[in-house]
């Protein structure tokens, strides 16, 4: 039933009158029988399982923070690095005194 909707191009309605008898005719002819039907059912099943997983696990809840967001501009300055660089920086200033 489901695989017809997902994989075939047949109308979904079951009433022959609504479908001009097309759907029932095809079914009677046995187009969706045997291995092809089984494969279609398998695909449809896996697709449904996948969509089910997305439906449950793929939803991410994002809560807005209640505090204002403060961006610390100098967060990238590491104290130990600054201490290590001090002598080097002093030397650099001496060597480029025109621009310091």
């Amino acid at each position: 039933m489901t695989f017809r909707e997902l994989t075939g191009t047949l109308p979904a309605a079951k009433d022959p009158v609504m479908n001009d008898g097309y759907s029932m005719t095809m079914q009677r002819k046995g187009i969706w029988s045997g291995r092809r039907a089984a494969r279609a059912a398998r695909i449809a099943g896996s697709m449904m399982a996948a969509s089910g997983m997305f439906g449950v696990g793929g939803c991410i809840q994002v809560a807005a923070p209640d505090k204002p967001i403060v961006i610390e501009l100098n967060i990238n300055i590491r104290q130990e690095v600054v201490y290590r660089l001090a002598a080097d920086a002093a030397k650099t200033v001496e060597q480029n005194e025109a621009i310091f």
Binding site: V81, V93, N96, E97, A98, I99
Partner: protein, 133 residues
């Protein structure tokens, strides 16, 4: 160039430079001192040292001053980029240098205080970032 040599050769190059300096010889690649325009702008408080290691325009100044500051900052960035390679980020190197530059300001010169505003260096110690060495 020179910095790299110092880093690689370590104490030998440094010792050589020290000897050269003691002998009163100019170091091989030392650049000339500040331009008169830069010196005057500093003394007049038209430009100031920022906490990030770059020069800033104090208030509204002429286009020449602004252009000079931009030019100096471009050169500083180049120096910071080269000097920080393999040691730290450019930002960290610039910040460390900024600490020294603010500390080295002379009375009357401007620097950026902890609140971000321009301060005039007095006789005492300047306001320094707590992370400064």
């Amino acid at each position: 160039m020179k910095r790299t040599r110092f880093t690689n050769a370590g104490g030998i190059a440094l010792a050589a430079a020290t000897i050269a300096a003691l002998a009163g010889m100019p170091a091989a690649q030392a650049q000339s001192a500040r331009s008169p325009a830069y010196t005057a702008a500093r003394a007049a408080g038209q430009v100031g040292e920022q906490r990030d290691g770059y020069l800033g325009v104090v208030g509204s100044q002429s286009g020449e001053i602004a252009a000079m500051v931009r030019d100096i900052n471009n050169q500083r960035r180049q120096v910071y980029t080269k000097a920080s390679a393999g040691k730290s980020t450019i930002q960290e190197y610039a910040f460390t240098t900024g600490c020294k530059l603010i500390r080295d300001t002379r009375a009357g010169e401007k620097y950026q205080g902890l609140d971000g505003s321009w301060k005039t260096r007095g006789a005492g110690a300047p306001e320094l970032d707590p992370r400064c060495p």
